[in-house]
Amino acid sequence: MKYFILKEASRVLFPALLVLSLVVLYRGHNLPGGGFIGGLLAAIAFILVGFGNSMKRAKDLLRLNPVQIMALGLATAVLSAVPGLLFNAPFLTGEWLPGFSLPLLGKVHLGTPLVFDIGVYLVVLGFVLHSTFSLARLADIQMEEEKS
């Protein structure tokens, strides 16, 4: 039950959506976007592959297990809280590197809130994919049973 158009579309859209999700993640501090939306977009990219091609392919593309991605996200978020402590400020205080300019991106500000947002991104991505894969697994098994 594979649709050609969906499959081909997912092939093109997958990298595009991933890049978009990263852009949304990065620009979130000043413009609409952020880790939550970015994470959802990235999850949708994978789900699209899952529908267009197969859930297995989506899992392969992900490389890591969704639960590991969530753990990574939580660890990243906690890590982003530490620099504040090192500067004798409360836990989670935002600390920023001095701004610099890059071609294409313009003026760049890097700081712990962005790292924190990456953590959020990863947790959301992991959560959505974990739920999707779990439900898909249940549905697949039922389908097999109905066939047999």
Binding site: G28, H29, N30, L31, P32, G33, G34, G35, F36, I37, L40, L41, A43, I44, I47, F51, P66, V67, M70, A71, G73, L74, A77, V78, A81, F91, L92, G94, W96, H109, G111, P113, L114, F116, D117, G119, V120, V123, V124, G126, F127, V128, H130, S131, T132, S134, L135, A136, R137, L138, A139, I141, Q142, E145
Partner: protein
């Protein structure tokens, strides 16, 4: 060098944490290694004893929750030194003893973990200067003692008794916490060292009675005073080392300790106030009841348990009498009791271990096969009986000295003390001497006894020996432990007192009373079989009238009520849950609305764009379709319309972040729903028309209330909205122009962190559900 206070505490907790690993590495010998921790702490405390004896006190403080007045403040004064020495000193031997007693037990590591954590909590309790810190350690002892008493958790009665101890002491602790907070409110201080200087402030306060009653609620439950005495004999369900430790130096002494600690603050100047009489009367009652019940016991461990109860009664009573001699007697008795009670419990544990029974009607003449244990038991029993030259004699003599100083109706306490001591001596002989003398009948025993291993006799031998040595040369103990402790309990300065035996052995009334006590005690011992003959009948008759019966009834009633409301509220049907939740929300909302009744509800229709009104109408229609449709696809589509409508509203009102999120979530919901929708049974209406009508009304009321409240909320503005402030702060403070994102990742980042943790936990829940579904399916296909 006050940091040694923390070190002594940390060493014990550290030993607790590494105990399972040590046991894995060393097996039964782990006890010798782990005992180093309490021994080190003991050494540290001994090294500070001269400082304390000179009248100084050591303080260590780290700021903790300063906003809650809770600081990590430790203070070593005479009273805490005395208790800390007892806890760590006896604790050292208990740890060693455990290695022999629990030899080869598969969960020895866990046991050491609990035991050392218990010890650490107790040391922390006696060292705390901050009231809140003390409470934390107090609860620590409750929890660890629960784990220890219920250590044989495969047995139902063991679990029940452990829970009983936890509930009784835990509920008492709640009352005590209220009392401690009241003290803090009245005096404005959460430090014992400051509170104790403000006794006059406390007693002038209208809260004084409440404070006394609440504090005593905690102390009486912890120290098993009437009518909360019943948990203590039941606590013997734990392994013997636990009983030995719990009865001699820890747990039950915590209540006594706190009463002594707060004595300067709560006792009235001239004596004879509420505090004094509460202590003296309940202490006396506890003593009498414990001695009465103790007469009928046949299990050596429970005989000892009832004598502990009796001692706790005496100590409380002495504190209540509160004269110079009474406090002196209390401190001396406390030390003496700790030494002989730990010994006797360990001796009985060894007998149980070697002979396989604790029934004193069977145990006889073991002195030939277990000579060292028998000697330790004999010494301890003699000290407990108050025979000179043992340390117990000094304690008892001081009690009588305090007693003869009383006048008028207070003399009743002397009588109570006399009767109590008399029976206690009989019980001491019964448990400590009876099993070892007389004609041996080894064939009647379940096991062939022989001498206990070194680990099991060293503790009893040393502690029993100390009971004799302290009696002969009481000078070090007197100046380093007793005098500073008395000063701390009375809130006075240290002055020396004569404890030497030859000062006490003078022909006077107290000595005569002592002699009578000994004679009476022997009489009780000789006639012990008469009590055993009627024991079962008497105990069975008393049981339904006792405090434990009341506890059982309360406990069962609570269980019944909880079952009743669970059946009513937790039906297991989603429909009912939603109904209850919404109905509760309606009730609260209606109440909220009612409190703002009379506020004009104005709604400016003109200020809304026709576009918005159109979207809202579409959403309403979709909602009605969603409710009334019987097809999943239709319901899903209709819900999608509502969701996208909300997204449009967000977009319209200038919240692009919310709009995007809403759109993505709506999309994902539909996708995820598609996995299951085709596998669900078709939608059916199974509820009655009446139920549906009820739900429809409730839902409409809920919707209407929310609407009205929202309109009200727009009109009522208590303070300037925080959003303006956040928007103004966003760029200068957090270098971000998107306020929503700045709030999420910077201003309220801690909230976000909590939320992503919740998300991750929810994912684990899903994993559990899915895998349980898979397992069920696999089983079904088999």
């Amino acid at each position: 060098m006050p940091s040694f206070l923390v070190i002594s505490l940390a060493v014990i907790f550290l030993a607790s944490v590494i105990a399972p690993m040590v046991v894995r590495a060393l097996g039964d010998r782990a006890g010798w290694f782990l005992a180093a921790a309490p021994l080190a702490a003991f050494g540290l405390f001994v090294s500070q004893a001269p400082v304390i004896a000179s009248g100084a006190s050591l303080v260590y403080e780290v700021d903790w929750f300063s906003a809650l007045e809770a600081s990590f403040a430790l203070r070593l004064d005479g009273l805490s030194l005395l208790m800390a020495l007892l806890v760590t000193g006896i604790g050292t031997f208990i740890v060693i003893y455990t290695g022999g007693y629990m030899h080869g037990h598969p969960q020895l590591g866990r046991f050491y973990l609990y035991l050392l954590a218990f010890m650490g909590s107790m040391v922390g309790l006696v060292l705390s200067d901050n009231v809140i810190l003390m409470f934390v350690f107090w609860e620590g002892t409750s929890i660890t003692s629960y784990l220890l008493i219920g250590f044989n958790h495969e047995e139902k009665s063991s679990r029940w008794k452990a829970l009983q101890a936890l509930l009784v002491t835990g509920l008492g602790a709640m009352a005590m916490l209220a009392g401690l907070i009241l003290i803090g409110m009245v005096t404005g201080s959460y430090r014992f060292s400051e509170i104790n200087g403000m006794g006059d402030v406390l007693q002038a306060s209208p809260w004084y009675t409440a404070i006394v009653l609440l504090i005593l609620g905690g102390c009486f439950t912890k120290s098993a005073q009437v009518p909360f005495h019943f948990w203590l004999p039941n606590a013997m369900a734990g392994p013997t080392p636990v009983s030995a430790f719990l009865h001699s130096a820890t747990m039950v002494k915590a209540g006594i300790f706190l009463m002594a600690r707060l004595n300067p603050a709560l006792s009235s100047v001239g004596g004879g106030g509420l505090w004094e009489y509460m202590l003296a009367i309940f202490g006396g009652l506890t003593l009498l009841l414990a001695m009465f019940l103790g007469l009928f016991q046949k299990d050596a461990k429970s005989i000892l348990a009832y004598t502990t109860l009796g001692v706790l009664g005496i100590l409380t009573m002495l504190l209540g009498i509160g004269t110079e001699y009474a406090i002196k007697a209390m401190v001396v008795f406390l030390i003496g009791h700790a030494l002989y009670k730990a010994t006797l419990f360990m001796v009985i544990g060894s007998v149980d271990h070697e002979a396989g029974t604790r029934d004193v009607t069977l145990l006889r003449g073991l002195r030939k096969v277990m000579p060292i244990t028998a000697l330790a038991g004999l010494l301890a029993a003699l000290s407990m009986s108050g025979i000179p030259p043992f340390f117990g004699f000094i304690g008892k003599e001081l009690i009588y000295k305090a007693g003869v100083g009383l006048a008028g109706p207070d003399l009743i306490f002397l009588v109570v003390a006399f009767v109590g001591n008399l029976v206690m001596m009989g019980l001491a002989l019964k448990a400590g001497v009876g099993p070892f003398f007389g004609k041996a009948d080894l064939a009647a025993l379940p096991k062939k006894p022989h001498e206990a291993p070194l680990a099991m006799w060293i503790g009893p031998a040393v502690l029993a020996g100390l009971g004799l040595i302290f009696g002969l040369v009481p000078f070090w103990v007197s100046t380093h432990m007793v005098e500073p402790a008395i000063a701390a309990i009375q809130g006075s300065t240290i002055h020396s007192l004569e404890l030497a035996l030859w000062d006490l052995v003078k022909p006077n009334l107290p000595l005569l009373l002592s002699a009578l006590t000994v004679a009476g005690g022997c009489l009780v011992f000789i006639n012990r079989r008469r009590f055993w003959a009627v024991a079962d009948g008497v105990l069975a008759r008393i049981r339904p009238l006792g405090a434990e019966a009341v506890y059982d009834r309360l406990f069962n009633a609570t269980i019944w009520f909880s079952k009743f409301q669970t059946i009513r509220l937790q039906t297991g049907r989603l429909h009912d849950y939603v109904f209850f939740i919404v109905a509760t929300a309606v009730a609260f909302l209606a109440w909220a609305l009612f409190s703002f009744w009379g506020q004009p509800v104005s709604f400016a229709w003109a200020s809304y764009d026709p576009l918005i009104i159109g979207i809202v109408i579409i959403m309403i229609v979709a909602a009605v379709v969603a409710v009334s449709s019987r097809s999943y696809i239709k319901v899903l589509a209709a819900l999608g319309v509502v969701g996208f409508g909300v997204a449009l509203l967000f977009a319209y009102f200038g919240a692009p972040d919310l709009a995007i999120t809403q759109l993505l979530v709506e999309t994902l919901t539909v996708v995820l729903f598609m996995f299951v929708v085709l596998r669900l049974p078709p939608l059916k209406s199974i509820s009655k028309t009446r139920t549906r009508l009820r739900d429809a009304i409730l839902a409409s009321v809920f919707g209407a209330l929310i609407t009205v409240l929202l309109i009200q909320a727009v009109n009522i503005q208590f303070k300037s909205p925080i959003s303006e402030q956040l928007a103004a702060m966003s760029y200068p403070e957090a270098k971000g122009k998107n306020v929503v994102n700045v709030i999420l990742v910077d201003f309220r980042a801690l909230d976000t962190m909590g939320e992503i943790v919740v998300v991750a936990v929810a994912a684990l829940g899903i994993a559990a559900l899915v895998s349980s579904g898979l397992i069920k399916r696999k089983e079904a296909s088999k």
